[in-house]
Symmetry: C2
Subunit: 737 residues, 2 copies
């Protein structure tokens, strides 16, 4: 007994000792603060974050910020900035500041209205275009509605014969001059809006020698069949007009301070040397007035693809028919350029582990009038995102990286607010920015989601949209991904929702094309297969009201909510994932497609390609090299020890800097601020994102070149630059040493 008892006591002792030791060990182990980030499972935070964004709240925000016109540089736009700043502070994010710049803006002269006349042989004005759009119901007492104008138009009163130049594209002018034999030197051209950015139309008109340019919205391009004009539907009324700037900035920002932020001490070039300012008068009109100008035009009847939907024959001129031969057209333009203070609102949530890594959600606040769609549908979404993020912060969440929210000013005047801030912060952004998500208009149609982004974001966009419900009626339980996929499948080759390339025309430009920060944008869109009009009918008119969204585009505000969730989830996961959710293999796949497609484009000139020894081999070889590097990188990611903060940071840095690797510091030919070798707008249309834009433009120029040997040399040079850039980008994915 005694012996057993001793045995038992010994065992007891051993058990106790062991238990205590293990207990102590475990407590010691777990009590020690770990240097690896306590990566709390962020998925429940993501869920909370997305669910907190409410349709009704977005409606409230939209209502609040569309009461009054708030053109850039006006008092009301500053008031909204102050209100946004105050509310973001209340939402509880870490800091909010107002960041002003003094940039060149452009306004109509209040005492001398802009208009276009038909004048008789005595110089009497026998017809004048409207001075303003009829104000929509409920807004009759509102002042400060800027009349339709082309911002940055030259002043002047040119008088002459009209020539109709279709969309004013390079190919339109070329057809006009070569096939139709019409010289527009000294003429006033009339051009329909659509297809390309209006600034490109103006540039083409200037190059062709025109002394003035009139732009109009043709029903063929701004009218949806079976839809009533506003307020009974969402079509553009006959007297509605599209405003807009007519600059050719190519990413320069403020025309007077290219490359540098427009601060008080900044040197400004003289107004004559300002970047991208047209030197002829420009003015926009609606189709009601356009009918009057086109109706009496003489000259040839153009081919069918030059004809719009007005009840006129679209004769190209020059001038009027014999009956009205003595009548001329006179433009009366008194618009002034002036340096004006603008205000960005910048809000921040400090990153917990990597405060020096930035994820940016930015969109503009300034509007031509009320901005019901453009931009406030987007700004309301950002506002709700900030509110939700503030709520999450108050529950103890803090993202791994810093999140920056931006309410940009003066986007409508050439992306000025966003570009000046990018110039101001270029060094920080270059070293630290992980991604930029753009938040312009959140809706331009009622059909499905539209996403344009850099290829490395494809996978994240798909993952996210699978977690967000479809906003469409009758699609309960269907994900946004499925809803989108069903409506817009990519191609026959790829069974997934279509994602497009980024072009330009919104505030991501400086971040993506100048600085090389991975970027994307998401909005709700129309059915591009059946709805041919550019943007949406009331675009940049006074009819972009809160009501048009509430009555037609998104009565439940669920579409805007879905867009808020997409944009929100993008910044959430980019900011909070331990490993950056950027997919290098997708970039490789896209590069391969782009290389094939640009080579195919070139092969239209097979004979010349052989004559001038033009080969795409170096580009294909570079893409192959990139593909291997991306695959190897992706494999190494699988074995990454995420508990080692330095190893994790090193690979995240490689992911972050991949987009930067496509930047050529020398810029694209003649466009020093467009520096992305893979993505930039074509020189012929700011809206269209082209892949390998340097090669694309060089190929385009061959058609018009007087010296084909030299033009093909430029193609070869551009292929070499593209090949080098892709090789260089591949190198950034290999092990760093």
């Amino acid at each position: 007994m005694r012996k057993e008892s001793r045995w038992i006591r010994w065992i007891k002792w051993i058990v106790i000792v062991t238990v205590l030791f293990v207990l102590g060990f475990c407590i010691g182990w777990f009590a020690k603060p770990s240097n690896t980030q306590n990566h709390t499972d962020s998925s429940h935070y993501l869920k909370d974050f997305l669910e907190e964004m409410k349709a009704d709240k977005i409606r409230e925000h939209l209502r609040k910020f569309t009461q009054l016109p708030h053109l850039a540089g006006t008092e009301q736009n500053l008031k909204y900035a102050e209100q946004i700043m105050k509310e973001w502070q209340m939402f509880g994010i870490d800091s909010v500041e107002m960041v002003p710049y003094d940039v060149l803006l452009s306004y109509p002269n209040e005492s001398q209205p802009n208009y276009i006349s038909i004048v008789d042989h005595l110089g009497n004005e026998v017809f004048n275009t409207s001075l303003a759009e009829p104000v929509p119901q409920g807004y009759e007492d509102i002042s400060n509605i800027v009349p339709p104008y082309s911002a940055f138009s030259a002043k002047g009163q040119p008088e002459g014969d009209l020539v109709y130049v279709n969309y004013g594209r390079t190919e339109d002018f070329s057809q006009l001059q070569r096939e139709m034999g019409i010289n527009v030197t000294g003429k006033i051209v009339i051009v329909r809006y659509g297809k390309i950015f209006r600034g490109n139309k103006v540039k083409n008109a200037v190059l062709a020698g025109a002394k003035g340019i009139i732009m109009f919205s043709d029903p063929a391009d701004y009218w949806a069949d079976g839809i009533q004009p506003y307020p009974d539907g969402w079509n553009l009324p006959g007297r509605g007009v599209q405003r807009g700037n007519v600059l050719n900035l190519n990413g320069a920002g403020d025309p007077l301070t290219p490359g540098y932020p427009a601060k008080e001490y900044t040197y400004r070039v003289s107004p004559e040397d300002g970047v991208g300012l047209p030197n002829i008068p420009v003015h926009p009109i609606g189709f009601h007035d356009a009918f009057r100008l086109l109706n009496n035009m003489g000259g040839e009847i153009p081919p069918n693809n030059w004809k719009g939907a007005l009840n006129v024959s679209y004769r190209i001129g020059p001038g009027f028919t014999d009956e009205f031969k003595s009548q001329k057209v006179r433009m009366n333009i008194h618009t002034n350029n002036q340096v004006t203070r603008i205000y960005n609102v910048i809000g921040k949530i400090r990153g917990a582990q990597e405060p020096d890594r930035y994820v940016i959600l930015g969109g503009h606040r300034d509007a031509w009038v009320f901005g019901g769609i453009d931009p406030m549908s987007g700004a309301a979404v950002v506002h709700e995102t900030v509110r939700s993020a503030g709520r999450l912060l108050s529950t103890g969440w803090r993202p791994r990286r810093t999140i920056i929210f931006a309410s940009w000013d003066a986007e409508e005047f050439g992306l000025l607010g966003s570009t000046e801030w990018a110039e101001d912060n270029a060094r920080l952004l270059q070293e630290r920015a992980v991604a930029y998500i753009n938040a312009d208009s959140a809706i331009e149609g009622m059909y499905t989601l539209r996403v344009d982004c850099t290829p490395s974001l494809h996978t994240l966009v798909y993952d996210i949209t699978k977690q967000i419900p479809s906003p469409e009626g009758g699609e309960e339980g269907v994900s946004l991904y499925e809803s989108w996929h069903k409506r817009d499948n990519w191609t026959n080759d790829r069974d997934a929702p279509r994602i497009s390339k980024l072009g330009s025309g919104s505030d991501f430009e400086a971040y993506f094309i100048r600085l090389g920060i991975a970027s994307g944008r998401a909005r709700y869109t129309k059915n591009t297969k059946t709805e041919r009009y550019s943007s949406y009918p009331v675009y940049h008119s006074v009819y972009e009201t809160f009501e048009i969204v509430e009555k037609f585009y998104d009565p439940s505000f669920k579409r805007l909510q879905a867009v808020a969730q997409v944009r929100g989830a993008l910044i959430f996961l980019l900011a909070d994932s331990q490993l950056l959710p950027l997919d290098v293999n997708e970039y490789a796949d896209s590069l391969r497609k782009y290389a094939q497609s640009i080579a195919q484009l070139a092969q239209k000139n097979l004979v010349e390609m052989e004559m001038y020894k033009v080969s795409f081999d170096s580009l294909f070889s570079a893409v192959e090299n990139f593909t291997v590097a991306a695959r190897d990188f992706h494999e190494r990611l699988q074995t990454l020890n995420k508990a080692d903060p330095l190893q994790l940071r090193i690979m995240n840095d490689q992911l972050m800097y991949l987009e930067r690797a496509f930047i050529d510091p020398l810029g694209l030919p003649g466009r020093p601020f467009y520096r992305h070798v893979i993505f930039a707008p074509s020189s012929h249309n700011k809206y269209a994102g082209e892949s390998f834009p340097g090669i694309y433009d060089a190929l385009f120029d061959i058609q018009n070149s007087a010296d084909p040997a030299k033009a093909w040399e430029e193609v070869k040079r551009q292929i070499s630059i593209a090949a080098f850039t892709v090789h260089a980008a591949a190198m950034t994915l290999t092990p760093p040493a």
Copy 2:
């Protein structure tokens, strides 16, 4: 008793439990691997590393690599590259590779020698300059000694009158034209070497309209008093000639592939469009031949500061005295440009904790002939550094960061090897390079140390030199710092050894001025107060042999050893220190000095400054802002938790990227590859490092401008750019969020 016993038992139990728990806790605590790097005390490794570098070994390396001429692009230079690669591999560093580029080089035509003649009125050559330098003793049988020539000279046989243009500086030509009333259009100019880079002389001659340029070494500039010519001393013999390229690349690298690496697939511009190629013949001669050309010259006697030390009157011409009036000078230049393969050798030691951070030690290998001083005194030092690093690796050391050793090719032809590699690796270097230490000639005099570096390296240089012994005889126990300090105190304001600004003319250019990587160089130098000659007398002649170093410059090889230790310690501490040894306060101090000094320069034109409203206030305010940011940053460094690898990395990144912040992607005016706003050579002399070079050049141009209002506008623009850049750099030092 029993009660007490129970008490005691309880206490026993409690003690046992506590002890076991604490034991377990402690074991648990310490058993858990820490993520903070086991930062072994690197100081004993540094000591081993420095002590391992031996004078005798450096002598051996120098002897080995100066046996044969090894001009860039020749077989022998490839052989040395292969030998260096093999030996670095044997030394035990992680990897060594050969990296080729195909760049434009320039060689004399072997069948048609270059020379200059005096021709009589019948066209007979009555005097010809030497075709080669007398070969030094012991080298008589050596082939492939390239005769003296000006690399990249245009071909041609211009004939005409000589004009003597002193040093060929902008101010010399200006004095010639304005004060002396001499027009050099259509003349051949003769210019003495010295003061400025020879390429600038050629550019000035071209701008002035000359049709040829002859350069000579005047004893006033290449002769030390009381010293015998080589081989009895280290002075330049009368028939010795300085070779050298005469390009104006402004950092472009290979003239045919500016901005991109010269790979096989790279597009090359046509030779006529090559960057920086002179369009007139250029040829160098010694003072023996120069005497013959100058002796008969007619025209005015120039001011004393135009006179050299030859026994001639330095008349400026044009042409000869009456007696020889009918004689002309004819240049016979047949030098060819040709695309040629060159080879860099790149060795690496992988960093243990931060393999994606690079510290580079690079210097060139190619030489005009033997390269006894330039560059092999430097290359021998690099070789010994690699050997010592290999030894240290074998003892278990591995640096925190990656070290890259480079043996550059074709430096003599315009820094081509280093620039092409920088272009090839620009993205990696931009994101990852911590510092670049240059290793050209390690000795150019026998007096003391010379260091040129970025301000943030000042403190490290002082710290290092305090740990290295003086190499001077009779200075046992004296540190290099003290020895240097005694000989070259900075100024009355600062009691420390002088450190100078980086100019250009060696391989750090692309790294520092284009990419913005903190850079420095160190070598042994002459007493600049008493020795007025540029570089050293035999510079770029055949007399740069192993023997000139062994007999005169450094018989004990202790000076080269000291330079090896300085360069070695720099890369060691930059690569291995936990916290980067870069001093932001020193940058602030330097910026303040530079701002004061450029403002002072401007104030020579006080009246005009007031007339054109030129103010330096914005620059001073930016510098003040930078100073505060630097001080605050430095204070935060003191409280940094170095055990947190992410916090450490974040601050190190701020230190690393500070130099990058001074880069303006738009480049300096007309010089797209010079992008450093604080440091670049003046447009008028590649060798001279100027601070605020944009402002400096704009002020310089005022003197020669026909439109002063416009010239002052450029000054204002440059001040604004400088102020913005300094503000932007300050921002990078503030807390990241």
